[in-house]
């Protein structure tokens, strides 16, 4: 078995075909984790014993002739806001530092049901609030492409795990760009599915109407493979909807895109991007054009102008509500006090970090009587306009091509005193969440500096397959994301 980590599709077929054992694959993954973690800090919890036990079980399945599943023996990392039964699930917060959920998230059930082996829980910005994975109780994550830089966030640990070759696939969650922005910063692919395509059962909510779970990977085929496993209706999540999806793997393997209209966003042409990222858009457009796509120009002016303020009203509002339950009574941190209110104040004061507190305060404010109409109700109206603007854009385009980020990953500590500056790094990703659309960051190459370039593809609701197909075309042109050199031993 080579030292270069395999992708998930290769692992699954090798394990099923008894070319190698799941135990070998998982051991190799654990070795890489062991070697890199001191530098990267991408994982909050490493599940060494459990993973090896699980891998042995998969090998047993193969030996006894049972179908081990489409992800047989594939080591995966899941973000630490996805509940894992009996395994601590911290959300990167002191509040849940030692909380062990009594149940598995739907996506965890599905991954394990498909034969995947969870080797770790990834580090993240506390409660998924942040764009740098610096706001974690468990310390900041480093970018495997350049450890002095942030990996993006909030799924920075998941993106770093995939980029560093710990695992071929990781799950992240994306509320305003938390899969796509770290994918762009770490140089991997990252897909945020249509809102409702993947069950949120067991995903610890940040902003319920925006959150969605999705894969990060080093190949489009792996992203497709994961989507085939994790998507689908779940009666436990009333906002999830019935599949109706084609098999994503078909789209990844046969990316027929001829005639697909690619919408280039006018607003991003004029100097808002670092030059290599602007060039990545042009190159991707060329590659798609070579495969028979037609180019069109679309406008997302309102989304770009009003998306950020709209998002920073709706998401903190929902967050302030979702995080109200942490009162020290039932689970998580409890600061002892004489009465309930003191317990509440002390626990929340000690359990939440500054960024989380900032958003809870913002959210409580915009929902309070007297301010509701001016802020929250207005933001809902703006959200509708953003949806309508995307709908309009999709009358002249089948897939929108735009940047995922406007810059390369920034240095750690860069936005310590400028939270709003940090918020702006989600400018291109968050309108997609507001409209509930599928969006995907696709790797397009490494600069000489070793830092990655990428583009973002956005499709109409439930057209996630178009993203997979276009991404496969782009991947064919630019190659798969390599394992981060800084991560090689």
């Amino acid at each position: 078995m080579s030292r270069e980590p395999m992708d998930a599709a290769a692992i699954a077929s090798a394990v099923a075909g008894r070319e190698c054992s799941a135990v070998e694959v998982v051991s190799a993954s654990l070795e890489r984790i062991d070697a890199q973690e001191p530098r990267l800090n991408a994982l909050i919890t490493v599940l060494e014993d459990q993973a090896l036990e699980r891998a042995a079980f998969i090998d047993g399945q193969v030996a006894s002739g049972n179908d081990p599943g489409p992800l047989a023996g594939v080591p995966v990392v899941v973000k630490d806001n996805l509940c894992t039964r009996g395994i601590r699930t911290t959300c990167g917060s002191r509040m849940l530092e030692n909380w062990k959920p009594p149940y598995d998230a739907a996506v965890v059930e599905k991954l394990e049901g498909a034969g995947a082996v969870i080797v770790g829980k990834s580090n993240m910005d506390e409660f998924a609030m942040g764009s740098s994975s610096e706001h974690s109780r468990f310390g900041p994550v480093s970018n495997p492409r350049d450890p002095s830089r942030v990996p993006g966030g909030s799924s920075g640990g998941s993106a770093a795990s995939v980029a560093a070759g710990y695992v071929p696939i990781a799950l992240g969650s994306d509320t305003g760009g938390s899969i796509r922005q770290p994918a762009a910063f770490c140089g991997v692919h990252g897909l945020k599915p249509t809102y409702g395509a993947v069950s949120r059962w067991g995903l610890i909510a940040f902003a319920s109407s925006l959150d969605q779970v999705g894969p990060l990977s080093r190949s489009v085929v792996d992203a497709a493979l994961t989507m085939d496993v994790i998507s689908g209706c779940d009666p436990r999540d009333s906002t999830s909807k019935g599949g109706g999806f084609p098999r994503f793997i078909e789209g990844a393997l046969n990316p027929y895109v001829k005639g697909t209209r690619i919408g280039i966003v006018r607003e991003f042409r004029e100097g808002v991007l670092e030059q290599p990222l602007a060039k990545a858009i042009e190159d991707a457009a060329l590659a798609l054009g070579e495969s028979g796509c037609a180019m069109a120009e679309v406008s997302l002016e309102e989304s770009v102008t009003f998306g950020l303020p709209c998002y920073y009203i709706i998401s903190p509002a929902e967050a302030s509500s979702n995080l109200a339950r942490f009162d020290g009574t039932r689970y998580g941190l409890r600061m002892d006090a004489q009465d309930f209110v003191s317990q509440l104040l002390l626990t929340r004061g000690a359990g939440f970090g500054d960024e989380v507190k900032r958003r809870i305060l913002t959210g409580s404010f915009v929902l309070s009587s007297g301010y509701y109409d001016a802020f929250y109700a207005t933001a809902l109206k703006v959200r509708k306009k953003i949806c309508a603007e995307f709908d309009r854009a999709f009358t002249s385009a089948d897939v929108i091509l735009m940047p995922a980020v406007s810059s390369f990953p920034f240095k750690k500590g860069n936005f310590d005193d400028d939270p709003v500056g940090m918020y702006k790094s989600d400018l291109f990703t968050l309108p997609v969440n507001l409209a509930g659309l599928p969006g995907m960051t696709v790797f397009t190459g490494l600069e000489r500096s070793g830092l990655p370039t990428s583009v973002q593809l956005v499709a109409p609701r439930w057209q996630d397959q178009r993203l997979i197909k276009c991404a496969a075309v782009i991947e064919k042109k630019f190659g798969r994301p390599p394992v981060a050199c800084g991560g090689c031993i």
Partner: protein, 494 residues
């Protein structure tokens, strides 16, 4: 001129719906008397990552009550989050319906001394219940609380909140409203309507309008745990508010708590400030869409409503207002009555028997109507015999007694009671009469001599015959048989 007052009362009633599982999770609902925190799951405990999924049965029952109250059922309603911090509220918000409730704009008739009054229903919405706090001390004393425990078994139990218009003006009307609403939810099988166990909870809103134009603030009274407590709380609150206004004071809008043992209401805060619940639409639940076919299906399932039955019993059956009210109080009893009529009994005797004998046996045995050993069919057949005169009331009562307490069928019970099929008539009857007259020569002689002017002796003899034949002949037939026998005896003498 002396000031006069007008009382304005509106009620908010929380009805616990009789579903098998909670509003948003599969946990069972029969939590009463269970070990604390055993009927819980990630959803009703509000564990991180859990999500609600709406119980369709709760929606069905909510719609059922709404339709019975003549409400307009919203084709699209919505759930909202109502935020406040309290240890019994697992998510620190209650999922309720604020802006778009399940149903609106209905009405319910209430009856006061036979007079009908209609009370408007403002709205009906669904919401989840909270857990329960248990205060205590390590040594089990109630006072000097040193710890509080929380039991979440009740958290997430489905409630329908029924809000009335402020259409009532006396505690008696409020009482009738609550009793009427309780009757309906029981009729519909939507709730057990039990106030003592908390299945029906009432919050009272009461205010005063003074003849000098002053209007007192609306006071909400909580913690009224029985119909009687509600009436007392209202009486207390009405006189308190009037005294305040009479002394030139102001009645503030506030929430007060009823202290049942001291018979007073107490303000909870010095000055009422509106609590900010930061309502917003529940993002984890899509809008609740109810289509016409759903409503039609529920409608088809609606029984005749209590006041409809009551009016029919009065108008069509000719029952008194009181009997009509008694017999329409419980659906099971009303159905028993109608079944009895359907199986041959006359309306009058069925009504009489159900409200006296059947109710008495139910009370004595503690059984539910379905569990009674006799059915509307057997009671109907028995009463048909009374109606046609082949069985006296007394004899029938005896038979029913045997049926009710010994669990025998009609035929067997009649046999056991010594009843002859087809009744006692002809030679059998003549023989019985003859036996009695011969056994009582003195009385018979008196009657024959014509000196029994008051008819007392004759009645006595007739009673003896009735007893002899166990009431198995109409009084008229018995009387005629006695006449015939007396005539025959006279004939012998002359």
């Amino acid at each position: 001129m002396a000031l006069t007052f007008e009382t304005v009362i509106g009620l908010e009633v929380h009805v616990q719906l009789s579903t098998n599982s909670k509003l948003f999770c599969p946990c069972p609902t029969d939590y009463i008397g269970r070990e604390p925190n055993t009927f819980v799951c990630p959803v009703c405990l509000g564990l991180p990552g859990s999500l609600p999924s709406l119980n369709a049965r709760a929606v069905q029952l909510g719609v059922k009550i709404a339709l019975a109250l003549g409400c307009f059922v919203s084709r699209v309603s919505r759930f909202d989050r109502k935020h406040y911090f309290y240890p019994d509220l697992p998510k620190a918000f209650q999922v309720s319906q604020l802006g778009l409730p399940l149903a609106e704009k209905g009405a319910m008739p209430i009856f006061l001394g036979g007079l009908k009054k209609t009370v408007g229903i403002t709205r009906l919405h669904l919401e989840e219940d909270a857990g329960k706090l248990l205060h205590g001390t390590p040594d089990g004393r109630l006072s000097g609380t040193s710890f509080t425990r929380v039991d979440y078994n009740r958290a997430g139990i489905p409630l329908a909140e029924v809000v009335s218009e402020p259409d009532m003006s006396t505690p008696m009307e409020a009482r009738e409203y609550v009793l009427s609403l309780r009757r309906i939810v029981r009729y519909l099988g939507a709730s057990d309507g039990d106030m003592e166990s908390g299945s029906l909870r009432v919050d009272v809103n009461v205010s005063q309008k003074c003849s000098d134009g002053r209007v007192g603030g609306r006071v909400e009274v909580k913690n009224v745990n029985s119909v009687r407590a509600m009436e007392r709380a209202l009486e207390y609150e009405i006189s308190r508010q009037r005294e305040v206004l009479l002394s030139g004071g102001q009645v503030y809008r506030e929430t007060r708590h009823w202290d049942d043992s001291n018979g007073v209401t107490r303000g909870t805060r010095g000055k009422e400030e509106a609590q900010d619940y930061r309502y917003f639409p529940e993002p984890d639940l899509p809008p609740l869409v109810i289509d016409d076919s759903f409503i039609r299906a529920v409608e088809k399932d609606l029984p005749e409503l209590p006041w409809e039955k009551r009016e029919r019993f009065q108008a069509e059956w000719g029952l008194s207002s009181e009997d009509a009210s008694t017999l329409s109080e419980r659906l099971d009893l009303a159905e028993f009555l109608e079944g009895t009529v359907a199986h041959g009994a006359s309306r009058g005797s069925a009504a009489n028997w159900v409200k006296t004998e059947v109710l008495r046996i139910l009370n004595e045995t503690g059984l539910e109507t379905e569990a009674l050993p006799f059915t509307p069919r057997s009671l109907g057949a028995l009463l048909a015999k009374v109606d046609e005169g082949s069985l006296s009331n007394t004899a029938a009562r005896g038979v029913l007694e045997i049926m009710g307490h010994e669990g025998l069928g009609l035929e067997e019970a009649m046999r056991k009671a010594g009843i002859v099929p087809g009744g006692v008539k002809g030679d059998l009857l003549t023989e019985a009469v003859r036996g009695v007259l011969e056994g009582h020569p003195e009385e018979t002689a008196l009657v024959l001599s014509g000196s029994d002017s008051s008819g007392k002796k004759r009645k006595y003899l007739q009673g003896l015959v009735m007893r002899e034949i166990r009431g198995q002949a109409p009084v008229g037939d018995v009387s005629a048989a006695i006449d015939r026998e007396l005539d025959r005896m006279k004939g012998f003498r002359e």
